[in-house]
């Protein structure tokens, strides 16, 4: 185990930022701390780094307790959301900083520093920028330099605070994949904080979902998506349709002829792609009709109006591949029949 957290709690005044967090992160994982803003994810990351002190609990890095160690002795690499590059130093000096501040006995020679910085610059594919100053770089370049700077000290863990938060959408997409591949290459245990579930799914090998200072679920992306452990995770991790079976939804579902295999709880969460759409048999007068649809690239998202008489005109979302949609040849206002292929049940 590379990172262990035991009973970590943190309060700011009367606000509980973290409530008894226990977490073990194995060596070599790329973990996403995922949660809505204010859930405590950045605080947790800063506690691991030593930039924040927990009120209670212990932090272990590589089996060694570091709870009371200062940040400079923890051997961590930290990447900030707004890069925090030293603005009066060149890119080269920024990356060399961690090597230059080492104590006299540990400090590598100038030649080794030079070689190492250039290796890192090659790694982040920005070798040609070594003489520039941070303010002459684009956001994406700055973030890669910040990463190179953190890696220069060969940290035992790499911590990234919303690393793509300040970037344009297209740059963000590129950098996500790049980070994932870089992690495959270096295999250093890494934690990054994000509020974007798509980003977490795309980049991380493990996801820790946080909410209101507690861990809601921990697992691989597919695990969390396919088996959300509770209502919050299910809603947060992707779009979902919510049916409350104890309210009038139950009667409505029956009257709509919607088949749910067998109820296993009170609340059913159904992902859009788990709703199958068919043309209704002539006799069935399904209350559901197609209100609108949008192209999402390879799939089509359908907005289905429940046409409920009680005024609750909640929309149901469904998704299907483009070709399937073309085959059905639906028009706006057409009645459709639904079949729910899979639901997550909560009480």
């Amino acid at each position: 185990m590379s990172i262990n957290l035991k009973n970590i709690s943190k309060h700011f005044g009367s606000f509980t930022a973290l409530d008894n967090i226990n977490l073990d992160i194995p060596e070599g994982e790329l973990v996403a701390l995922l949660g809505p803003s204010g859930c405590g994810k950045t605080t947790l990351l800063r506690i691991i780094a030593g930039l924040e002190q927990a009120d209670q609990g212990q932090v272990f890095l590589k089996g060694e307790e570091v709870t009371d160690k200062s940040v400079k002795n923890r051997k961590i690499g930290f990447v900030f959301q707004h890069y925090a590059l030293f603005r009066h130093m060149t890119v080269f000096e920024n990356i060399a900083f961690g090597l230059r501040v080492k104590s006299h006995s540990e400090r590598p020679s100038e030649a080794i520093i030079r070689r190492k910085v250039h290796d890192l610059l090659k790694l982040v594919q920005l070798d040609w920028l070594s003489d520039r100053f941070p303010d002459q770089l684009s956001g994406g370049q700055r973030q890669r330099i910040a990463l190179a700077r953190a890696l220069a000290v060969e940290p035992s863990v790499l911590l990234l605070d919303e690393p793509f938060g300040a970037l344009d959408a297209s740059v963000r997409k590129d950098l996500r994949l790049w980070l994932r591949h870089l992690h495959h290459e270096l295999n250093v245990t890494s934690i990054f904080v994000t509020h974007d579930q798509e980003e977490a799914m795309e980049v991380a090998s493990q996801i820790v979902v946080l909410n209101q200072g507690r861990i809601e679920q921990k697992g691989s992306p597919s695990d969390i998506y396919d088996n959300p452990s509770n209502d919050f995770v299910s809603r947060f991790i992707g779009q979902t349709n919510v049916f409350h079976l104890e309210k009038d939804d139950c009667a409505w579902l029956q009257s709509a002829g919607i088949i749910i295999d067998e109820p296993k709880g009170i609340i059913a969460h159904v992902r859009p792609h788990n709703i199958q759409i068919e043309k209704p048999a002539a006799s069935a007068n399904s209350p559901v009709y197609l209100k609108d649809w949008q192209h999402l690239g390879g799939t089509i998202r359908l907005e289905l109006d429940r046409g409920a008489s009680n005024g609750s005109n909640t929309i149901i979302y469904a998704e299907m591949p483009n070709e399937k949609f073309r085959e059905l040849a639906l028009e706006r206002g057409d009645r459709v029949a639904l079949r729910i292929k899979h639901a997550h049940w909560f009480n």
Binding site: L51, V71, A84, R149
Partner: protein, 290 residues
């Protein structure tokens, strides 16, 4: 990084320009006021100083009492400026980096010397360390002289120059945030190293600006110093006090010759100040453009 560049078109539309007589009127009025209240007195200082020729001017500047006053002024500045700088940096650090109860009261207190009359500042030290002051008898026992001696002058100057550096740095460091320092610490730098390698380069222009103003005030302070000095010629007279004494003794050349030094200090301060302001905006613009 927070500054947004606003581009004001150089040629304003006709409809937004005031008529010629309004523009010329205001510009003329401003020039007149500056000429009357700034340039003319400054010129008078020089004219009076040289009214009896260059040798008289040089002679009064090299008079032992004048030289003693210059030396004391330089000594006062040499002691107070580093102390005020040190205090300013630590106060700005405390206020910008830590959250604590009573922070706003502290900020207000730092400004106190700005709002207190310098005479009162001087008087405080007389009341504390004077012969009949709180610590007077005790100091007398040990034969330590503070009031009417150099330490009193330095203390009074410290009091009035106290806020200059802190006032400059607090907003600067608050705006800058803590991230670069945290990054340095996470890379293994010690606190001291972080300060000298990361914090100081970022605040250096603001710091120099504060130091410059502090220095100008330390050398030019009259009121507070006047109260504690005792006006002992050749011993406790700073340059501003020397100007007053020689003037009162009808030694106009001597008085204005000393005054011309202070005026020169003011001009140099002004030029350096403009340069520092220009550097600061340059630095901010660069980080703002990115």
């Amino acid at each position: 990084m927070n500054t947004t560049a606003i581009h004001i078109p150089s040629a304003k539309p006709k409809a937004l320009t005031d008529s010629d007589w309004v523009r010329h009127g205001f510009i003329g009025l401003t020039l007149l006021i500056i000429g009357l209240f700034l340039i003319l007195p400054l010129a008078t200082v020089l004219i009076e100083a040289f009214s009896k020729g260059w040798t008289a001017y040089a002679g009064s500047l090299t008079h032992p009492d004048t030289l003693a006053a210059i030396r004391l002024t330089l000594l006062t500045a040499a002691v107070t400026v580093p102390l005020t700088t040190f205090f300013g940096i630590s106060a700005a650090w405390a206020i910008a980096r830590f959250d604590f109860r009573g922070k706003n009261i502290l900020i207000t207190l730092i400004d106190l010397p700005f709002s207190v009359s310098p005479v009162i500042a001087g008087l405080i030290y007389v009341l504390m360390f004077g012969a009949r002051g709180w610590f007077g008898p005790w100091l007398d026992d040990y034969d330590i002289k503070i009031v009417f001696a150099v330490p009193g002058i330095i203390l009074a100057t410290l009091f009035v120059t106290f806020p200059f550096v802190a006032r400059e740095l607090i907003p600067l460091m608050q705006e800058m945030g803590h991230e670069e320092e945290e990054a340095a610490l996470s890379l293994g730098a010690s606190g001291l190293r972080t300060f000298f390698k990361v914090t100081l380069p970022n605040i250096k222009w603001g710091l120099l600006y504060g130091v410059l103003l502090c220095n100008a005030r330390a050398m030019g302070e009259f009121g507070a110093v006047s109260v504690v000095s005792g006006h002992i010629r050749g011993l406790t007279n700073t340059l501003p006090l020397h100007v007053e004494i020689t003037y009162n003794e009808y030694d106009f050349v001597g008085s204005f010759a000393s005054a011309s030094l202070l005026a020169a200090l003011a001009v140099v301060t002004l030029v350096v100040k403009s340069y520092l302001e220009w550097r600061q905006t340059l630095d901010r613009k660069v980080s703002g453009d990115a």
